[in-house]
């Protein structure tokens, strides 16, 4: 019972990945559009995309850390 609840909690925490996924998807689609419109700015756009993805990914990472904390601290 206890471990089941812990597992459910960790699973919910990892749902933060949804936000990161959507965010990175939007960022990538916009970056693709931007490159299509201005192919000469590809280097700059790629840099910004990587940076934005890394920042958006942070939310997923927070979820992961919380999930890990739940598992390690509660079990």
């Amino acid at each position: 019972m206890n471990t089941t609840l812990i597992a459910i909690g960790a699973g919910i925490a990892v749902l933060t990945g949804i936000g990161a996924g959507v965010g990175i998807g939007i960022a990538t689609s916009k970056a693709t559009e931007a490159v299509a419109r201005q192919p000469e700015a590809e280097g700059k756009i790629t840099k910004l995309l990587l940076l934005g993805s890394a920042l958006a990914e942070a939310t997923a990472i927070y979820g992961f850390v919380i999930g890990l904390l739940i598992i390690i601290l509660l079990s």
């Binding site: 990587l50 890394a54 927070y62 992961f64 850390v65």
Partner: protein, 225 residues
């Protein structure tokens, strides 16, 4: 499956590598010492006989590396924050090496929350120092009540949130990459981990090092405005 969990927990624990006078010195600190020693020796060797005229290939490479590293941080900080560029460059170099050191079989120091917390604390101190140095104490205090006095508590809270976010982002990324790599290595020990290591160790490690420095620089620039 229980076996895997046990192995994972074992890997995730940061053991005290050695104890001096009852104080446990963790593995991350020791690895940091190793990094410091190696880089110190390397830089001493590389900068031994630099020539003004006709530099060798080694010197050109070194100069290129140093100037491009400094170019990154100076580009982030802009002209008014040039004095802090050296610190950010050294942090960038340290994080880059620390995140990549997993390739050589060491546990990355950034996997230990002590290291990321220390980096984040130094970052927030530097950010606020830059703000105070630029604006003066009075204007720095006033800047908490901007744009309106109502959000002053949130601004004060940001003093904690900023370093916490920096710390957790770096720690979580490295830890996540480490866990995934451990899992992959547990399942397929040969061949496949190399491919994934390319992404999780090299690419992600460097990106996170850059993001950490970038965000610190961004916050500093914001504080100096």
């Amino acid at each position: 499956m229980g076996n895997l969990g046990e192995a994972l927990r074992e890997e995730l624990n940061c053991e005290s590598a050695l104890t001096i006078g009852g104080i446990g010195i963790s593995e991350s600190v020791v690895v940091t010492w190793i990094i410091m020693a190696v880089v110190l020796v390397l830089s001493l060797i590389l900068t031994r006989n630099l020539k003004v005229e006709h530099p060798g290939k080694r010197q050109l490479l070194l100069e290129q590396a140093v100037t491009s590293l400094e170019g990154i941080t100076e580009g982030i900080l802009g002209p008014e924050g040039k004095q802090y560029a050296a610190y950010l460059t050294s942090v960038l170099l340290y994080l880059g090496i620390a995140n990549l050191i997993g390739i050589f079989g060491f546990k990355p120091p950034t996997k230990d929350m002590n290291v990321t917390a220390a980096l984040a604390i130094m970052s927030i101190i530097l950010i606020e120092y830059a703000g105070i140095h630029r604006k003066g104490v009075k204007r720095w205090f006033k800047s908490f009540a901007e744009p309106i006095a109502l959000i002053a508590p949130i601004n004060v809270l940001e003093l904690v949130i900023k370093p916490l976010s920096l710390c957790m982002r770096l720690f979580g990324n490295v830890l996540g990459a480490f866990v995934i790599m451990e899992l992959i290595e547990y399942i397929v020990p040969v061949g496949v981990p190399v491919v994934f290591s390319m992404y999780f160790d090299i690419f992600d490690g460097l990106i996170q090092a850059y993001v950490f420095v970038f965000l610190t620089g961004l916050f500093m620039k914001e504080a100096m405005e």
